[in-house]
Amino acid sequence: MKSQMSWFLGVASVLLLGVVTVLTFSTPSPDFVQGEAARLIYVHPATAWASYAAFGTTTFAAVMWLWPRTRRIGWDHIAGASAHIGTMFLAMTLVLGAIWGRPTWGVWFRLRDARMASTLVMLLMYFGVLTLRQLPAAPDVRARRTALAALLASVNVPIVHFSVQWWDTLHQKATLAKPEKPTIEGLPLTIMLLSFVAFTVTFCWLMVHRTRIERWNDQLFNGDVESAIVARQREGAGSLAASGLTPGGLR
């Protein structure tokens, strides 16, 4: 069942990303002034959205793990997987933004800009979460660390999103998510929305795989511990037999 879902999501993801790529390069640039660089609007907001979705999942899974009634190790697997994927999408967002920013604004990156600075800080926070997660520990300990660190990092997510509205910034204001009419329409809007769907499906596909890897890692850890205990018991039994003792006392 799970492999079927993975297969379906994988095919859908590749197809949707393929369609978005073809449409991105076969249609006229969505902005006359920005020229070719404006085509990045089809990818950059979508990767940012995917990272928000991933970090939202991380926060939700962290809360579910911390809540005693819903505590299952599966939530930790989901939190770890989504934190990994979200960090990857966020790094992509920053890189694509820099590629867009250079021809449009004349700078790769501007630390004084609220959106850019807060996004970079968010990336650093989630790097911290991942670093903490990769330290050797029993699954329960690792899960607690991840959940707490992820909750602290999640404070920054709304700041990043609303930074363009709260502070003066080089980054443009919201294009789609705003009360008034969107500043993009027609075919460019369709491609952009399709890109959002494509990256959402890709996120789900990656989640299925990454969660599975997290589970396998735990199985490997538990298997290693169990085999180490068995080996130690055998070793101990051998020494006892050689000394003529049994665990219960003298034979």
Binding site: L66, V121, M125, G128, T131, V141, L148, L152
Partner: protein, 240 residues
């Protein structure tokens, strides 16, 4: 009524940590000289670098940049001190199984959090007095609007101590604590750093009206971090 044990335990932990610090004098003998060194180094590093960028005429360009970067240097000094003080606060509990004893005494985790954060607040405020003296003496800063400056300092210090204590507890049981703590802690403190620096810069330039909104942002972060610490310190203590 239910929360009284929290404050009683907070007072107990505060008194314990404060007594240890007063005896060991780590803040005075190690952190304070470190902060003064930072002040001197930052002062030398930024002395003439920014002169080329300033477009303001008719000012003594050799002193202007220091006055501008003063609040930033001040808060960076506070942040670096925070890392050292949190390391110290954690090491008190990790040595000789003291943290385990705290848990066995059945103290309210929220009280432990408030007590430990309280001592870090006290130490940071002491460091800030030193930094203020250093800024006035070395950078020739005029401390105008003292009420605003002190309010922002107290708010930011409480926020930093709260988030520092949380991450300190999170990294307490780790062998790589010394290197990991700054990696985890410093990015989270960016909102506090930003708000505190902006409020200070505006206060020092006499733009009080635009400084208070930054103080309000700071207040929100402080509430979030303190609430997080109170609610989660029980789980965090299991790490140490």
């Amino acid at each position: 009524m239910m929360r009284w044990p929290m404050f009683r335990d907070a007072a107990f932990v505060f008194a314990k940590d404060a007594r240890i610090e007063l005896r060991a004098k780590v803040t005075l003998r190690q952190v304070a000289p470190f902060v003064v060194s930072l002040l001197v180094l930052f002062g030398l590093a930024f002395d003439r670098l920014l002169v080329k960028d300033t477009a303001i005429a008719d000012v003594r360009v050799d002193e202007l940049p220091l006055a501008f970067v003063g609040p930033g240097i001040y808060w960076l000094g506070v942040l670096f001190s925070l890392v050292l003080l949190v390391q110290r606060s954690v090491s008190i509990e990790t040595e000789d199984g003291a943290g385990t004893q705290l848990r066995l005494w059945g103290l309210d985790p929220a009280g432990v959090f408030l007590g430990k954060a309280g001592v870090v607040v006290m130490q940071l405020l002491f460091i800030q007095v030193l930094l203020c003296v250093g800024l006035i003496a070395m950078f020739d800063l005029q401390m105008t609007e003292p009420l605003l400056l002190v309010s922002v300092s107290v708010l930011a210090t409480v926020g930093l101590a709260a988030v520092g204590s949380c991450y300190g507890a999170l990294s307490a049981g780790l062998r790589v604590r010394e290197t990991l703590l700054p990696v985890l802690l410093l990015p989270v403190t960016v909102p506090v750093l930003l708000a505190a620096v902006q409020a200070w810069q505006r206060a020092l330039t006499g733009d009080v009206d635009s400084a208070w909104p930054w103080a309000r942002i700071l207040f929100v972060f402080v509430v979030v971090y303190v609430a997080f610490g109170i609610l989660s310190y029980g789980a965090l203590m299991e790490e140490s």
